[in-house]
Symmetry: D2
Subunit: 366 residues, 4 copies
């Protein structure tokens, strides 16, 4: 498995730097005959694109995706799909003064130490722009899922930003796309807006927690040990820039629970097993139960801030770093469509893997 790929059957390899001519994703293993066009992918990219509101970076990127291969007469052919996004707004002059400096909390220093060379412009490969390629690939995965698992839906949203927590009692998923935060809690939007505006003015940034809810997954996806569905989801989320923690179902809180509370009891419903709770987050023993799959992850605050921080440069000199340029005050916001895309890729990959091994047959209950 290469360094820049994920997936087992439906594989995605992303490439490209923030300020190179282009970036993209090579998608292999896609089933044939699936309707696909650039216009089906673009809306996903638009949701992630920078410059859409005051809440995200002011870098203006059209993020127009082109399909260079693997689609013929509007349908996938089963051969690799190349998705290319050209970089159009590459103001690399902004980065000149940090070419030799290492921003604290940023990949600058580790890239340098590992490779002895790095494209410092806009963070190069470590830029959040890399996630545009993931979103494009996720759009392909969604197009396939629409054919193979029509009732499956994937919905990401913010549940926390710094000190602010969304109120689950008020959640309405239809609100998510009506505000700048992908927030299902409409009543909280004004407070979140004020809070992030203040953070920005203070030349600071803030972390976030994102949740992805996957509904309609058939039972039986995943595997018992290392190719667990939750293992692959955790890896997918942890691979997103700035993510520091991943939870399935109860997540870290499972450490406080008792077995009597945690066990999701089961009754028999008209269409099969029904669970009386979902502490497991839809996955038992690495395999989907058919319940809602619930994945959460934290995103650390952007390390590129205007407030000076102590650091060093390549020569070993001690310096103060201020990161100019156009950065997200809360990079977690734009992680929402990225996480949905990663989830789509993982779910599809496991659907294909399961089809490979079991042919999709299921053990009967009742």
């Amino acid at each position: 498995m290469s360094f820049n790929s994920f997936g087992r059957i439906f594989t995605v390899t992303t490439w490209g730097e923030s300020h190179g001519p282009a970036l993209g994703a090579t998608v292999d293993g896609c089933p044939p005959g699936i309707p696909l066009s650039e216009s089906m992918l673009q809306p996903f990219l638009d949701r992630r694109a920078p410059g859409r509101s005051k809440m995200t970076t002011q870098r203006q990127e059209a993020d127009v995706v082109r399909i260079l291969s693997g689609v013929f007469d509007g349908r996938t052919t089963g051969t690799p799909i190349q998705l290319m996004i050209e970089n159009t707004d590459q103001r690399s002059r902004d980065y000149g003064d940090i070419a030799q400096a290492f921003r604290p909390g940023h990949a600058d220093i580790t890239y340098w130490q590992k490779y002895g060379i790095r494209d410092y412009r806009g963070g190069g490969r470590s830029s959040a722009r890399e996630t545009a390629a993931r979103v494009a690939a996720g759009g392909v995965a969604r197009a396939v899922l629409a054919q193979l698992a029509g009732s499956l839906t994937i919905t990401g949203y913010m549940i926390q930003m710094g000190e602010l927590t969304a109120e689950r009692a008020r959640f309405d998923l239809s609100e998510i796309d009506r505000n700048d935060f992908f927030l299902p809690d409409a009543a909280a939007v004004p407070a979140w807006t004020d809070y992030l505006t203040r953070i920005r003015k203070e030349q600071d940034s803030v972390g976030a927690i994102v949740e992805v809810l996957i509904r309609g997954t058939p039972p039986g996806l995943g595997a018992p040990v290392y190719a667990k569905l939750d293992t692959d989801l955790a890896a997918a989320m942890m691979s997103i820039n700035a993510v520091k923690g991943v939870e399935i179902g109860e997540g870290m809180a499972a450490g406080r629970l008792r077995g009597t509370d945690n066990a999701d009891e089961i009754r028999m419903g008209p269409n099969g097993p029904e669970y009386l709770s979902n502490h497991a987050g839809g996955i038992l023993g690495g395999i989907s139960t058919g319940q809602d799959i619930v994945v959460r992850f934290s995103v650390k605050p952007t390390s590129s801030i205007l407030t000076p921080r102590r650091s060093i440069d390549q020569s070993g000199a001690e310096i103060e770093v201020v990161t100019k340029g156009r950065h997200d005050p809360c990079v977690g916001i734009r992680a929402v469509p990225v996480a949905e895309a990663m989830a789509a890729c993982v779910l599809l990959d496991h659907l294909l893997l399961d089809r490979a091994q079991t042919g999709g047959v299921r053990g009967r209950i009742g």
Copy 2:
């Protein structure tokens, strides 16, 4: 990559069920010439073995590991190392009455739905016994790390069990192996003992949080995007039975932080960069900084408990399930040596991967 393997160069494939004749691990990609013997591996297995204290399952398994291949004249040959552990205490009669039943919170139902067949004895492949094979493989990884990265240490310990939290101010790593909980907080041991004894008497179980501290990792291990060191560590931990959340450094708490707080400032020390804090948990942009790597994960409470829970069986009948047999009241305890083993495998794998791509050369600072 197969369903039951992990690793990219140093690969581990585990096999075997709880009540079959044996289980084990096939370790491939091990460097040649490394001193290795069964007596070097056995102590790791003994730490994980059941029946060692009242705090764990009373199943008595010798867990004796045999090296069937890949070692000659006391050194590894570079060919696959087969590690076999024979099952000796297979009281499968305990499981007869749950052959058709699905324990709530357990893999029973998903295995059945996916495969239409399962070895129900002792949980079969989903048994915590599978982790014995991981521990053996981890012992091999440690033997290699001792040669290639002599100063690297990997230490796991409990930091939480149900409602009880260890006190970091009292942590003394030398205490870990002096109590039944792998607890670095000696003063807490009596309370933890009482608490778990009570849980057990109440025919219940309880969750836990485990932390793994990796010291002495050279900077430069990992990769920028999908083969990140933190991604692979997260996947490794999430693949352990009953794990529901994984954190690196600040983990989920990163969602509350501000950028000014989170950025680990850097100064120049006599031997290179020195960090003034470690919110990152030793990994930036997927690559090790050289600081302590800090990984935490939660373990849900054992679902096999003596308190009756509502469930169904294969026929769809609604039943009450009581899991007899000999189960851990807190399976998180024995997850400690497992997590250390997984961390050792991941670190070694990345050491070899880095050697492949960069030849171990490092960008100079200063």
Copy 3:
């Protein structure tokens, strides 16, 4: 992908040395619910086993295979199948005098140079005994193919041994198991017997060419570029000890042909396309046509011979090497069941891969 594994979904990892305690194969990705028992595998091992006739090595190995995992109540569970063969006749004293010597034409010198250590007893990992594990794994693959592609048959046989060539006009596949050469040309058996007896008496060995005929493959297995069915078959055969060339259909002779001759013309038959010839050997563009798949490979003569050859030892001293021990005068003979096993694994793997990507749907003709 590890060094000792092959396959993408149905993966096989072999382990073990000639004179260690045991060797075997870890088979992962096997579909669940497939009837499997040791008695189904043993006949394949018996066909490969040494000591069965004067035409093969006199080493006596029972080659009894044990299934240690992955099978429950007589059916596969979808979890890893561990196949172990214990070594019982390990006369390692025969090898003492070559511990420091490098046999010409043998892996001795390259193993030493690469690893700086090798198990010299019986060739260690480079022994033909490793192929016993492949044969066991191939038996598993056949058991699955019997369920998923019932009409598919895999038949290997010798077509050449040194200067002797079998006569295709006399081929009768039912003769293959009636002689010591897996020879479909019954009339040639006496001459082959005399020839090989003479070779052996002359303390020499001889090469061979083996052909594998696969009938009943559905059209559509394979992939266009690197995961071609012929690529994977070629790799599988080339990975067998001592193999130096692999051909599909016309093989090397395709270099002499004209396009007008080589194109297999197509007519429409009652059940779909029918081909008027099979120069392609059943594979076009990496994908099966449904015709007979024809794979051929050469096996070099055993390098372990009693005739002295000039060589060196580890100290660099120039020596003459005579390999005592019990060696096959024509190791190609026992490669026949090995090749069948490899073909079975590759075909099954591609059947599962195809099921993953296309769901087994086929473009209609007519």
Copy 4:
């Protein structure tokens, strides 16, 4: 491993169809700090490009390669290198009349059967144009090899074209680039020219045999069983369009040899082992000996010819097919630079793999 990738550390994924907007290769795992530019890759593409002489297709493609990522300030960064070649001469109207027809000997029918859809323009993904991407990737591999194994050379050439065989006694590798056939036998060029001109006038095509000679490989590259150097070379060559057979060293002729002849005797030279012959083709037990590595493969005659052949179309109707368009009368010629590229990728991959496992240390002799 994805369907369109090869390699283990240095991985190459090609994408694109003959008549889409572009094609290319995504190269991952490349060591950092290697000087690389488009001008270093272009000469390799120019050697493979169509339309260079009357001996190849008259399709005019500039085959200009662009590096879209992974290179900064003229050196590789260790991140994915995207190599894109835009298609400029896409006369797809030539293919309109074969959209529903299946050319005999071509991938048309198997692609249709497998996927139920295919880009019929110019063969789509099965076009020899795909190999341009391989050549670009091979150029990257060569740039790395120049740094890591400076004395290693890779030279491909034709040794047979239909009935004509080159004369080894006259071989002069410096002649290879002085004729239209990559022929090291200058005296044969006029006869080869006449022969191929005649084939073309007869509206036919012809097969070929290509040899690749790799000099200066260090001993110790490869692995004992499935990741053998010869296995990976065989797979690499067999994955090239139209290849039907692959040989290492003696190849298929090894089947005729005796052990006394085949064993390459060894003497001790001033710089280590010296071999008195090279029947093995530079590889023993899957690992390089340090001798010349010799790989040969056959290329079948182009199936796209102007002479009518009987076939069927998608409706099942029986038809006669004549393939207009611009096709190579001997596609084997342009396979020469492709084979060199594949060899470069395989050698580099094994160099990195060996560095991963052994750190490049070697067992001493003498």
